[in-house]
């Protein structure tokens, strides 16, 4: 991904991501989040990760965000019914943000020197490559994620039955 493409995507992406939290209407916030996720998928396309890009759109932009909108519309949330965030929450957000930026900086420092120049393996980002990685090298994290999702599903059913 060259310099121009990166910034042509990054600047709108950051602006839209800020709009997610800055826009007063919950529906518009959710829509800006959809746009953010969509642009991220475009990023993955430019990075040769086609499978991840498709999954990003199917799962996040196409399914989870529709449910977000569903809930917002069902509860008929308006901008004036939003509770004002408490002070503690604001402080926690700032601390969390600082930690995240520090972590990203560390990661960037470590990765940029070693991996940037090396060429990608031949079938990088294809369904076969991703699938075999998931079911061999990363089998345990994969299964744990599956169990976590199962717990969430069971929890939702229990709550709904009350």
């Amino acid at each position: 991904m060259d310099f121009v493409t990166f910034f042509a995507l990054a600047i709108p992406l950051v602006v839209i991501a800020i709009m997610v939290i800055a826009h007063p209407s919950p529906v518009y916030s959710a829509l800006f989040l959809v746009l953010t996720l969509f642009l991220l998928a475009v990023y993955f396309l430019f990075l040769d990760a086609h499978m991840v890009a498709a999954l990003q759109i199917i799962v996040y932009a196409g399914a989870i965000m529709v449910l977000f909108l569903f809930v917002i519309m069902l509860l008929n949330l308006q901008s004036d019914t939003q509770p004002t965030p408490s002070r503690g929450l604001g402080r926690a957000a700032i601390i969390g943000g600082v930690i995240l930026v520090a972590e990203l900086g560390l990661l960037l420092q470590r990765s940029s020197s070693e991996q940037a120049e090396s060429a990608l393996p031949e079938n990088f980002g294809t369904v076969e490559a991703l699938g075999s990685q998931l079911f061999t090298t990363y089998l345990l994290p994969f299964e744990i994620t599956g169990i976590l999702l199962l717990v969430a599903v069971v929890g939702a059913v229990v709550l709904a039955k009350r």
């Binding site: 529906v27 932009a61 196409g62 529709v66 449910l67 909108l69 569903f70 519309m73 369904v127």
Partner: protein
């Protein structure tokens, strides 16, 4: 440059064909429903006076579009003007670009150049289709919300729940096909269906995956929001659901979107379960019959036969969907949701497990 021109014209051809077929389906629907219900149907606008068999072609293909595009474009008071205007386009555009991955022929050879008759050859073809179809939900949801109308909002909410629910059996039915053919690329899947089982039966997807076909058909009709799954627009209870407050060309876009979705379902059923552009026993150099005879054909004729076969199959499944629409009554909402989650989903899961088991045991 010439590669770009070829891709560009293939894409343009696909989009224009789909838009035209969408308009044509409106006529099939009007006149077909009239035949089924023993009515005369659209017969007012006629060019050559009163013909004995006025088929209503002028009505639906000329008069209706003129009416739709010259009507007042009404935005209700208190509606969100921006989203109200954008919603029909958000619903239609992802559907139109879906067709670029559907192959409509094998190769066209012109002047020594081999052109694959598929606008975009993606190795994640099926996933691309699912991604685009899942994005089109926003048209329904936003159209319902932005209209500032209770009926429209209910339609939008129903639509989002229904389309999310039926995407899951739809995707799982596709996984069965992917397992059977070992590829996500629609052109490769179609090529694999040119083989013969036992020298006689074409190895079409329906032979390997009959259950997946039925699940896909049901879930596909539900995705295109047509009767018996038309709860989001249910005229008798919600006026016309999420597009109650739409008029003129915006409403036309919503209507066209439904037809385009029906064409997508027909195109995918053709490609995945009925051999796509394959004609039984037709190879690249002509017919090879199982009883031993061969009939050599020029390459151009073979390509034309393949494109013709694909078109015929797609037209047949479009017609089938319209006939289903005018034959069945509408589900109740709880029936719709429990059909999706309690019948189609377990059935699709069982189909995937069984397919995987058979592949594991025999290969």
């Amino acid at each position: 440059m010439i590669d770009f021109l070829i891709t560009f014209s293939l894409t343009l051809l696909m989009v224009l064909m789909v838009l035209n077929l969408g308009g044509l389906l409106l006529w099939v629907e009007r006149k077909g429903s009239a035949v089924l219900q023993d009515r005369i149907g659209a017969n007012r606008a006629a060019v050559f006076g009163k013909l004995p068999f006025n088929l209503g072609i002028v009505n639906t293909l000329v008069a209706d579009p003129i009416k739709l595009f010259t009507k007042e474009d009404f935005v209700p008071q208190g509606a969100d003007k921006l989203l109200h205007t954008l919603a029909p386009a958000i619903g239609l555009v992802p559907l139109l670009v879906t067709f670029i991955v559907i192959p409509f022929g094998d190769v066209l050879i012109i002047g020594g150049r081999e052109i694959t008759l598929q606008a975009a050859n993606l190795n994640i073809g099926i996933l691309y289709v699912l991604a685009m179809v899942s994005l089109s939900v926003y048209g329904v949801v936003l159209g319902g919300w932005a209209s500032n109308n209770r009926w429209a909002l209910l339609g939008g909410i129903r639509g989002s729940a229904q389309m999310i629910s039926y995407e899951i059996p739809l995707g799982l039915a596709l996984i069965g096909v992917v397992l059977a053919f070992g590829s996500l690329d629609l052109q490769e899947i179609t090529r694999a269906q040119g083989a013969l089982i036992g020298g006689w039966i074409p190895a079409w997807g329906i032979v390997y995956q009959p259950v997946a076909f039925l699940i896909f058909l049901a879930a596909g009709i539900a995705e295109s929001k047509r009767i018996p799954f038309d709860l989001p627009e249910a005229e008798s209870e919600l006026i016309s659901g999420y597009f109650t407050e739409y008029s003129g060309s915006k409403q036309a876009m919503f209507m066209l979107g439904d037809f385009v979705e029906a064409i997508i379902v027909a195109g995918l059923i053709t490609t995945l379960f009925f051999g796509g552009w394959q004609v039984p026993f037709l190879l690249r150099d002509g017919f090879h019959f199982p009883w031993g005879g061969t009939l050599a054909l020029p390459s151009l004729l073979v390509t034309l036969l393949q494109v013709g076969a694909f078109t015929l199959k797609v037209l047949f499944f479009c017609w089938l969907q319209i006939m289903i629409r005018w034959t069945l009554p509408r589900f109740r909402y709880d029936q719709l949701i429990s059909l999706g989650w309690k019948i189609l989903l377990p059935l699709a899961l069982a189909n995937v497990m069984l397919t995987a088991l058979i592949i594991l045991l025999f290969e």
